[in-house]
């Protein structure tokens, strides 16, 4: 399902939260809305889902305006940062809830819920109460619950915040796998630039309620529109990926890397410079001085600073 926003404006308690926001999320794509805290990202998700009504502008699903359609009929699930599982239900009933609301009979909805739990690797936990789950398990249940009814789109509101780094990596991989498998349109809100780079087909940068830049991850990384976009990618970082046919690949991030082939690292410095370095034996040793990927990034950053 394609999601289209046209000139969305929203003011809350006399503060303009969204100002003339227009963007398009093509059907089946994974789009991240990136920006600092308070930029209006979560509010934008609330407008798409219908939890908040905009003051002006329109929301379109597959070319049809849905402003008059209530939230529960928009067929757009949301995964919140705090999971928002229902404590009066066990895990299975939580996941089966959307099917129950759509009138699916008990045996079928329980079977589909079980299958969905298996997809998120939580088989065996069906009878657990929600307060007995870890943070990562709660988010998996929330994901399963959002996807079980095959919605037209899924909105993720900073779903990995509050999880530790290792669990976050697992969750990102899981979300990407589920996206591939179900081919659902996904809009994710995040303040983590690298998370957006890795997972998204497109990134929209939001600042002060306005869209500053929209484009492929490589566009925002290599040709940022403003210093704020540069800053969203934070300190010098390095990613290990692969160069095939002259293109460096890291998740969904694709950057041209002529002259390099095979395993490589992409180094992005604080000043916005990027460099792709091969990870084969000799050149890796030259580039890294025999040190770790992060150390290699630091070397490049220092070299650039001297230049």
């Amino acid at each position: 399902m394609e999601i289209s926003l046209r000139n969305i404006n929203l003011t809350l308690r006399k503060n303009p939260i969204l100002q003339d926001v227009s963007m398009c999320v093509p059907s089946g794509e994974f789009v991240s809305i990136l920006g600092k805290s308070g930029a209006g990202k979560s509010t934008l998700l609330s407008v798409i889902s219908g939890l908040l009504l905009q003051d002006s502008g329109e929301v379109y699903f597959d070319g049809e305006c849905v402003d008059a359609v209530p939230t529960h009929k928009r067929d757009v699930s949301v995964v919140f940062q705090d999971a928002r599982l229902f404590p009066n239900m066990n895990v299975l009933d939580n996941v089966a809830f959307p099917l129950k609301m759509r009138g699916v009979r008990t045996p079928e909805r329980r079977e589909r819920a079980r299958a969905m739990l298996a997809e998120v690797q939580l088989q065996g936990l069906e009878q657990r109460r929600t307060h007995e789950l870890s943070g990562g398990q709660r988010q998996r249940v929330a994901l399963a619950r959002a996807l079980v009814c095959r919605p037209h789109a899924v909105l993720l509101d900073e779903p990995f915040s509050g999880l530790d780094e290792e669990v976050r990596d697992d969750m990102r991989d899981l979300v990407l796998k589920l996206h591939e498998r179900h081919d659902t349109t996904i809009v994710m809100v995040t303040h983590d630039g690298f998370e957006a780079l890795r997972m998204s087909d497109q990134i929209a940068y939001l600042s002060g309620g306005r869209i500053i830049q929209v484009g492929k991850p490589a566009d925002l990384l290599i040709h940022p529109a403003t210093p704020e976009v540069v800053a969203s990618f934070g300190q010098t970082k390095a990613f290990e990926g692969v160069v095939c046919d002259g293109e460096f690949t890291y998740g969904k991030l694709r950057i041209a890397a002529p002259g390099v082939e095979g395993p490589a690292i992409l180094v992005h410095t604080e000043s916005g410079a990027t460099e792709v370095l091969p990870l084969d034996g000799a050149s890796a040793a030259r580039a890294t001085g025999g040190k770790s990927t992060q150390a290699a990034a630091d070397n490049v950053a220092q070299a650039n600073a001297k230049e």
Binding site: S49, F80, P87
Partner: protein, 277 residues
């Protein structure tokens, strides 16, 4: 550290036992009086026992016995349900919506706390006579509900604001209409508050004397109306019997509320409801 913990636990147990004793001992005296025929001072134990007190209640019929008890329970249950329903709606308006006059509304719900029952009763009696509600059971229910409302609103506001609207919003994004989201998600979450509100409203209504006397005009004879003259009179056996039945009825109704709420999908285990982040 372990010795300190054990000492703390021991003192906590002592305090609990003392508290239970403060409640249980006077109640046990009432229970003994309910079956006592003669207990002259300064005897430590009754001289003789009888079932005279219980027989008075059983044989009293609608006027003074089990019929009267049934009417009292009906009035108080209806009052409790009505008050709690109004309190749930008021709490949602206070917690989830911003509107002009919200703060004033919140204070207005507490007005019955500030106005003495006798003053309120005399004022509402005049209004009820005009509305043809005086001397009727429904009029008594309404009057009791007004007096119980501040307690119910206070309880439900705390519970509703604590539970928040987040899960209800999540339910709406998963295909539940507003009403279904409330029924399946919010209502079970606020069940502990509902139980407290029902019990508090019930006991306030069940023990009302002056208000029932004035609004009911003697035609609506509740159990409290029958009990109070015996308490101030000299027959402790009958007073004890009525008091015992009063207590037992209250406890039974509380248990019934709890069972009904559990059966409708609510959980009264607060740790299960509020344990997660």
């Amino acid at each position: 550290m372990s010795a300190r913990k054990n000492s703390g636990a021991r003192w906590a147990r002592v305090l609990v036992v003392l508290q239970i004793a403060c409640v249980a001992l006077p109640l046990s005296i009432i229970a003994v009086w309910a079956f006592t025929d003669s207990w002259p001072w300064p005897n430590l134990l009754p001289e003789s026992f009888s079932l005279r007190g219980m027989q008075t209640i059983v044989r009293g019929g609608d006027a003074t016995g089990l019929g009267c008890l049934l009417l009292s329970v009906e009035i108080s249950v209806v009052c409790a349900v009505l008050t709690t329903a109004v309190a749930i709606l008021a709490a949602r308006a206070i917690c989830f919506h911003r509107w002009v006059g919200r703060t004033a509304f919140e204070y207005l719900t507490m007005l019955p706390f500030l106005i003495p029952t006798t003053v309120f009763a005399m004022g509402v009696q005049v209004a009820f006579i005009r509305l043809h509600l005086a001397y009727t059971a429904f009029g008594v229910v309404l009057a009791h509900a007004i007096v119980a409302l501040p307690y119910a609103v206070a309880i439900m506001t705390e519970t509703t604001c604590g539970a928040g609207q987040a899960r209800e919003q999540a339910a709406r994004t998963l295909g539940a209409s507003g009403l279904r989201a409330f029924w399946h998600v919010s209502l079970p979450t606020i069940t502990p508050g509902i139980l407290s509100s029902l019990c508090m409203s019930f006991i306030i209504s069940f023990s009302q004397y002056f208000l029932t006397l004035l609004i009911g005009g003697g035609k609506v004879r509740t159990f409290a109306l029958i009990l109070f003259p015996y308490l101030s009179g000299g027959d402790r056996t009958i007073a004890g019997a009525y008091a015992l039945v009063f207590l037992a009825t209250t406890l039974l109704v509380f248990v019934a509320f709890r069972v009904i709420l559990r059966k409708t999908g609510g959980s009264t285990e607060e740790t299960a409801l509020y344990g997660e982040a």
